[in-house]
């Protein structure tokens, strides 16, 4: 069996699974911290019940996010040892900083938060959740800086057959990293917001705990609206930098084969990678792509045919994932705007509530598609322009990877089923009754 393919599948399975839980954690932690702060400030028990209800769902997720994160860190060594040896000087330090500076704080404090209700003052307990939330996002900063370096390596030189760091500041401050961070973390906040809105919608439809869930919904609505807009705006800016730094990814995202001025955006295009063209093209908007990525309707955009075959990413997957992500991004903006106008009469808007309930899975899909665009679109490179994925893999037997891949699928499958069952069960059950 092919070690490269198996290792890629395994890494994809492990990352995509991890990424089902981490964005939720990132988003929910801020919402829970806010709810708890409201409780501390107002003394209103409803806020406390909200904090505990959403906190419980948060913790189930958190556990799954943590345990699946460890395997990711070690997989660079187990399955991508040539990559690790080649870029560890830069990439390894970013992961180590993440653990030391951010993840440690989050993990220690989450225990304090869970068990600290009677050990800490109300204020201190709420402050702990804020720190958990900030540490979580800080973790994301370092991970995304590391990922941005794989997309656009900077601040290094090749010495003794490997990449060595020469400018740390360039690595951590590059535009690619900043945009990637804002885009990804905002997407995570959107996911958290939609989850809270969706579950709240369910209970509002049942007319249970109306006060509690109306408040939850509204808090999440503001959060979701703001970050949906940011995701879309930063996503648009990211297109500009992808065009500049990763022309093959951009061409694959847009399914653009020929280098043209006034490059179009297709509403739908079915690429035919064999014959290097699109089988079907529907709804071409001439010049839009040029305008979006170069701010000039007549700008030339390089198509896939400008690059050798072996340097092109899989076009079908990249373009479909991209279109799906973008479509969903606009959908999130649209429904949160609608929500804004309905915010004072949520209970009387059953159709909208149903829509929000059904929308719970959509940000999950969007965020996974975004990951596919970033990672599949980068192929065949593991570090864009510097190292091919096929050169990065460990010198190990394919059978070994096949066994671990099967184990990953089985364990994660069972874990995911159990995790989502518990989330579903607890979300449906609703908060503990008020104690008077």
């Amino acid at each position: 069996m092919d070690v490269v393919l198996l290792s890629r599948l395994q890494f994809a399975a492990a990352t995509m699974f991890h990424f089902l839980f981490v964005p939720f954690t990132l988003g929910l932690s801020f919402l829970v911290a806010y709810m708890e702060t409201k409780y501390v400030k107002t003394g209103d028990e409803t806020y406390l019940r909200m904090t505990k209800f959403w906190g419980k769902l948060f913790l189930i997720n958190f556990a799954l996010g943590v345990v699946t994160g460890i395997t990711l860190e070690f997989q660079f060594g187990t399955n991508w040892s040539r990559y690790s040896a080649y870029v560890g000087d830069i990439f390894g330090s970013l992961l180590a900083i993440e653990a030391t500076v951010a993840f440690f704080l989050e993990s220690v404090l989450i225990g304090v938060w869970i068990f600290g209700w009677r050990k800490l003052s109300k204020k201190a307990h709420a402050a702990v959740m804020w720190l958990v939330a900030i540490a979580g996002t800080l973790s994301a900063v370092w991970i995304l800086i590391a990922n941005a370096w794989m997309q656009n390596p900077v601040g290094f030189t090749i010495r003794d057959g490997r990449a060595e760091l020469v400018d740390f500041f360039a690595v951590i401050s590059q535009k690619f990293a900043i945009l990637k961070f804002i885009h990804t973390v905002s997407a995570a906040y959107v996911l958290g917001a939609f989850f809270v809105m969706g579950v709240s919608a369910y209970h509002l439809l049942k007319k249970k705990n109306i006060e509690l869930f109306t408040r939850s919904f509204r808090i999440a609505l503001v959060f979701g609206l703001v970050f949906s807009l940011i995701v879309v705006i930063i996503g648009d800016l990211s297109g500009v930098i992808v065009a500049e730094k990763q022309p093959t990814k951009l061409a694959a995202m847009e399914s653009l084969w020929e280098t043209t001025t006034r490059a179009p955006v297709y509403l739908f295009a079915l690429p035919d990678e064999e014959n290097e063209k699109n089988k079907i093209e529907i709804g071409a908007i001439p010049g839009l792509l040029s305008l979006l990525v170069f701010h000039d309707i007549d700008a030339e955009v390089r198509g896939l045919n400008a690059f050798p075959r072996e340097e092109r990413p899989p076009v079908l997957i990249t373009s479909f994932a991209f279109k799906g992500m973008v479509g969903l991004g606009f959908y999130f903006v649209l429904v949160t705007i609608i929500g804004w106008f309905k915010r004072n009469r949520l209970v009387d808007s059953p159709k909208f509530l149903k829509l929000m309930l059904l929308s719970i899975p959509l940000p999950y899909i969007a965020i996974e598609l975004g990951w596919v665009v970033a990672e599949v679109g980068r192929q065949p490179w593991i570090v864009y322009g510097l190292m091919k994925t096929s050169d990065a893999v460990s010198p190990i037997a394919g059978s070994q990877v096949l066994i671990s891949l099967i184990a990953f699928i089985l364990v994660y499958g069972l874990l995911g089923a159990t995790g989502f069952y518990l989330i579903y069960k607890n979300a449906k059950k609703g908060p503990e009754p008020a104690v008077n």
Binding site: A63, F74, I97, G111, I114
Partner: protein, 342 residues
């Protein structure tokens, strides 16, 4: 030179801190089916480490991350050659972690039984395999000049490797039993204390055998013979080991636990000092061994990471000690009644 040496010992320190902290979690998880007779016992055991285990586990992530950052080649070769062992450890850690969170979430004895089993497997497996892995590192791993591993999972299960596994399991069992004795009262406290007393002579025996076997299976003692002052480390470790029994007899459980922690750190450093400057020795030829000098990152990366570590490790230890202190005191039946308890 100096930077690489500092990093070599920091590397050892981080692994030592991981074994010292998560070690008692592993110990409690391994004792779990034997000491946890009733559901209440079991919950007391879980809750005795409930607020702390997650933070403890991050020492592993930090140790792994620092290996990656400071010695990328070691990180690459170590984890790819120990592939199956590491995968087993990782899956075990996953099971352990979710078990704590999941176990109490559904009120059904069969459900709890599943997670009870996972807690045991998830604690015993890493304890054993970390010992096996480190003993094999002490001994040397069959890697060639390209860092390619010539062996299988079973290559690691040689007598000395297994002895290392047994040593780690025993260290962690005693460490865990002592922690449980500190954190519990009544019947379960008595049983924890009794098991620590029973296991201690076994641990002593395993330590003695391991120290002797290391003379024949490894070259760890070369550094000690060259610099006899280092024998002090072994001496301190043995004193700490004796200290466990001493304080246990006086029922000073926290002091006994502390002595146990020192024993674990000492045992780790026994190996680390013996290995210096090698991080990952090749059993095929010393030329292929990965050392602090031929496998390290660039001086710039080592410097940046050193600043990060010097600034943050004390802070981490600070808030971790604060958290330990916050949750000091015994876990009682009353504590289990609160909704947040596992």
């Amino acid at each position: 030179m100096v930077l690489q040496t500092i990093w070599f010992f920091l590397w050892g320190l981080l692994w030592a801190l991981f074994f010292m902290t998560d070690g008692f979690d592993f110990g409690i998880g391994t004792l779990y089916p034997f000491l946890g007779k009733s559901d209440e016992d079991k919950r007391i055991m879980i809750n005795s480490i409930g607020p702390l285990w997650d933070g403890n586990e991050v020492w592993l992530i930090t140790a792994g991350g620092v290996t990656f950052a400071a010695f990328p080649t070691v990180y690459a070769v170590m984890f790819s050659s120990l592939y199956s062992a590491l995968m087993l450890i990782l899956f075990a850690l996953i099971l352990r972690g979710v078990s704590f969170e999941f176990r109490g979430k559904v009120d059904d004895p069969r459900w709890r039984k599943v997670w009870d089993t996972c807690i045991f497997i998830g604690s015993f497996t890493p304890a054993l395999l970390f010992g096996v892995a480190f003993a094999n590192i002490f001994k040397g791993i069959p890697i060639d000049h390209n860092g390619i591993y010539h062996g299988t999972l079973f290559t690691l299960l040689n007598p000395y490797g297994l002895l290392g596994g047994v040593l780690f399991v025993m260290l962690f069992l005693v460490h865990g039993a002592l922690w449980l004795a500190i954190k519990s009262e009544g019947d379960i406290h008595e049983r924890a204390s009794a098991i620590a007393n029973k296991l201690w002579p076994v641990l002593l025996g395993v330590v003695v055998i391991f120290l002797i076997a290391s003379r024949f299976s490894t070259r760890l003692y070369d550094n000690y013979v060259a610099h006899p002052a280092f024998f002090l480390v072994i001496l301190v470790t043995v004193f700490a080991l004796l200290g466990i029994k001493f304080f246990l007899a006086k029922k000073a459980f926290f002091k006994a636990w502390f002595a146990s922690a020192l024993t674990i750190v000492g045992a780790t450093f026994f190996g680390v000092i013996g290995l210096y400057p090698t991080l990952f020795p090749s059993s095929l030829s010393p030329k292929y061994s990965l050392t602090a000098f031929n496998a390290s990152s660039s001086p710039l990366t080592l410097k940046i990471m050193l600043i990060v570590v010097i600034l943050f490790i004390p802070v981490i230890i600070g808030y971790q000690v604060w958290a330990y202190n916050l949750f000091k005191g015994k876990v009682t039946t009353d504590d289990l009644a609160h909704e947040e308890a596992y």
